[in-house]
Amino acid sequence: MTAGSKGAVQSWGSAFASARGSGGPPKPWRRRLAGPEGFSLKTFVFSVILLMGAIIGLQIARERQTNSIEPDERLLYVRSGPLLEKVSLSYDAVMADVYWIRTLQHYGGTRLSKKTDKRYDLLYPLLDITTSLDPKFAIAYRFGAIFLAEGYPDGPGRPDQAIELLKKGMRAQPQKWQYLHDAGFIYYWWLEDFRSAAEWFDRASRVPGSPWWLKPLTATTMAQGGDRASSRLLWQQMLEAADNDWLRQNATLRLAQLIALDHLDQLSALVARYKSSTGHLPSSWEILVGARLLSQAPIDPAGVPYHLDPATGAVELAEKSPLHPLPAHLRRH
């Protein structure tokens, strides 16, 4: 041992001694915490804080340097639901919850990410595993179908997988009319196949305990599927039947979109009227307010002003509006 290292040892020794020596005989709890060599509590706590600081600092430094080796979020080691159900023993329901949380994180994280190539590759496998682990997990089928059907980039745009998931739910719980109704909704809203939608609504209406309004919904969908009135009826019933805040918010948003579509028609008519009377297009909403065609600049149901293109006279929903984008199939041109 060199003289320098001896000195260092001596100074550590005296540091421990001074920490030990002060304040008379140690209290019993302190004595219990002290090691055989009398390693004082103060030194111990100080050392732990110092070392933990070093550990966290190193971790942060490493993360800054090596972003590229972050684990791939799109990794799913086991894809077989039945296998996971077996190995979970009697803890399959809690495992289903874990996979459900993972599903929400995958969907929400991808949807909100700023990436241009959003990939929802794991959404269906995660939902399949969740519902295999807990076949009665109704929300996983219902939300899962909504997530899967949602058009890209807000979702994977896979109504086929959504229907598949709902059919799995129907096999597990044939008494749940909601799955049949949701399948009809996907045919209506995303696939625009109103005949199939009406068939699913009809099947839902035949399930014992299903609500009365499924029958008129079936008739309306069959007669005038695709127009705004029947869409409004569909979403209004969805809102009233929703047993969950998320479903309620979704239905409220869609109803607001339908109101915005009506607004756009009315505003386009006003612009056309102004043009026919003056011979030119209005350059802003203020011109229409000045002409007493409007009382104020129009705003959508979310409170965002509508956009008026002075060059073409086209009235559009602002891109920053929470209602954007509006369902294309219900636009009138």
């Binding site: 023993l89 009697s90 919850d97 459900w100 994180q105």
Partner: protein, 268 residues
Amino acid sequence: MRVVREIALHVFKESVRDRVPYTLVFFAVLLMATSYLLGQLTAGQEVKIIKDLGLAATSLIGLFIAIFIGIGLVSKEVERRSIYNLLSKPVSRRQVVLGKYLGLVLTLLVNISVMVAALYGVLAYFWFVSDPSVKAGWETPALDPALMVASGLIFVELALITALALVFSTFSSPLLSAALTFGLFIVGHFNADLKRFDQIVASRPVAYLARALYYLLPNLTLFDVKAEVVHGYHVPATAVVSAVGYAAAYIAVLVATSVFIFERRDFK
């Protein structure tokens, strides 16, 4: 009977002194508090997830108590040589086995009761703070009395596992006993597959053997009604009564086997 009660109380006090149940109960309470945090991430499924997590934690922690204390019930006395002291008193070996078993069952009962009370506490909090519109979306009420059925059957299952650990404890080392008991716990959840073995093997003798094992090995799936209760499905009284009857008969066989082995064991 008084002797059995004294031994049982001694086992209970010893397990409390061991501090292991305290740590595990603390863990259960902590887990339930964590479930509250998890509930924030689950799109309106807080109550379901808290129930799932609470019941799973109760079952898992009870399993650890049953196995890790159960395997030492007899073997620890032999290792410490305190068995000589115990048997020198006017106590029969049968009373020792029975008392030790009932003592651990009492420990489990107290622990499970604390965990279930904590679970109801977390659920009561949710019930109290949630809007009526949120409550309307719950599959079952937060303070659903049916949770008692699920936790009651968890207790019955753990009493059976304790009896298994006791049998192994009478003739085997703690490590081997733990491995065997845990192995049977896993088999107990898989043995429905043994019944259907004839569908995957061509050999009839193997299929018969599998069928025989299905009936002989403990069928622990009978006690698992957690998912049904959480989703609000009715658990028929006959299913509960038959599961309890099955467990009682199985436990009687296992305790009798423990007594049989222990009475013939030579400690010299």
